[in-house]
Symmetry: C2
Subunit: 224 residues, 2 copies
Amino acid sequence: MRQLHHFPLSPFCRRVRLILGEKRLTFDSHPERPWEPRDELFPLDPAKQLPVLIEAGGGAKLSDAQAICEYLEELHPDPPLLPKRAGDRAEVRRLCAWFDRFFFGEIGSVVVREKYLKRFRQVPSPEPDLAALRRALDATRRHLAFIEKLVDARDCLAGPLSLADFTAAAHVSCVDYFGDVPWDAFPKARDWYARLKSRPSFRPILADSVPGLTPPPHYANLDF
Amino acid sequence: MRQLHHFPLSPFCRRVRLILGEKRLTFDSHPERPWEPRDELFPLDPAKQLPVLIEAGGGAKLSDAQAICEYLEELHPDPPLLPKRAGDRAEVRRLCAWFDRFFFGEIGSVVVREKYLKRFRQVPSPEPDLAALRRALDATRRHLAFIEKLVDARDCLAGPLSLADFTAAAHVSCVDYFGDVPWDAFPKARDWYARLKSRPSFRPILADSVPGLTPPPHYANLDF
């Protein structure tokens, strides 16, 4: 059985869990604490990043969410999560990178650090930085407006349902776990996210429960 | 003719220039000022990132360096810059993402901001932050040690020459333009970079000249 080492509040790990689910690939789930990395998982990664996917029987040991998703798409192309035309594939990849860099940089990394890591690791300071959280909330509004612009012009973010949607939804879901998504102001983004949430691959994500931190009632509600 | 809009000191733009060169694909070069973005280049990119590649005849308009490189690899597979096996391709992609995130985040973005953008844009302050530059120099040593560890275990960064090498070399070259790479302490990394530098695709990079900012003599020297 393949093994997935992951952190439940990491959008990068959630993306891989979603893609494994979409492709109906079973795996043993190993939740990890990223602040206590186990060196043997990261022989050639000085940054010791999760997720790490280890193929069955001592096979390939893979890291980096996008690299893992491309790998899964190449070996298990059904159902396809990248379109056929090279230009369309480039647009999906552009959007994955966009959410990884900007949504995570401006929102996800801030919320998880300020509301979770500081509380449980108590470094560098246990007090959340309220100004940073306000900036992240402002950024959330900008990003939801961007999602609305994309789904207005297309069916899903890059056209048909693709890796771009699961990437973005994984990022959104981590922030939603903290109740920090202003859904009421963005009904089209909510409709898009509701479609993603209702897929079987999303069930394990909605069942995530981080010790000491209960998500808001709407988090796992498909009709939020 | 395809059009490439790029910023000469951006490692993301340099990577695409290198890959176009490796694949012997001609293009019209349009240097841009990222601090004065032309909106028409970025209809669906709120971050207005370079490079932007526009195919001939009003074809695809592509952005994000990795997405563009994957696109070029799919349409122009010769010479190949991704290996054949899915697991090996995943390792190349992991390393591309690694340098994009960590080398650029810890070093390249800092050096260009402190030594170039502050001087020419004069915002937010024209004084370079010396402590930030010292941290970037420390990080450079760690990253060169990582490159040495990889080329010690393999021929190039991910095995045979691949997109990972051009990605890393593009990042290194931007920092080298400022003379901020401590080559003497890292002879194996220097050998690896010398191999990259001597390729014809690197010539336009070594000929880059940013107004007001002369690179050190070793920058364009193949025998540095």
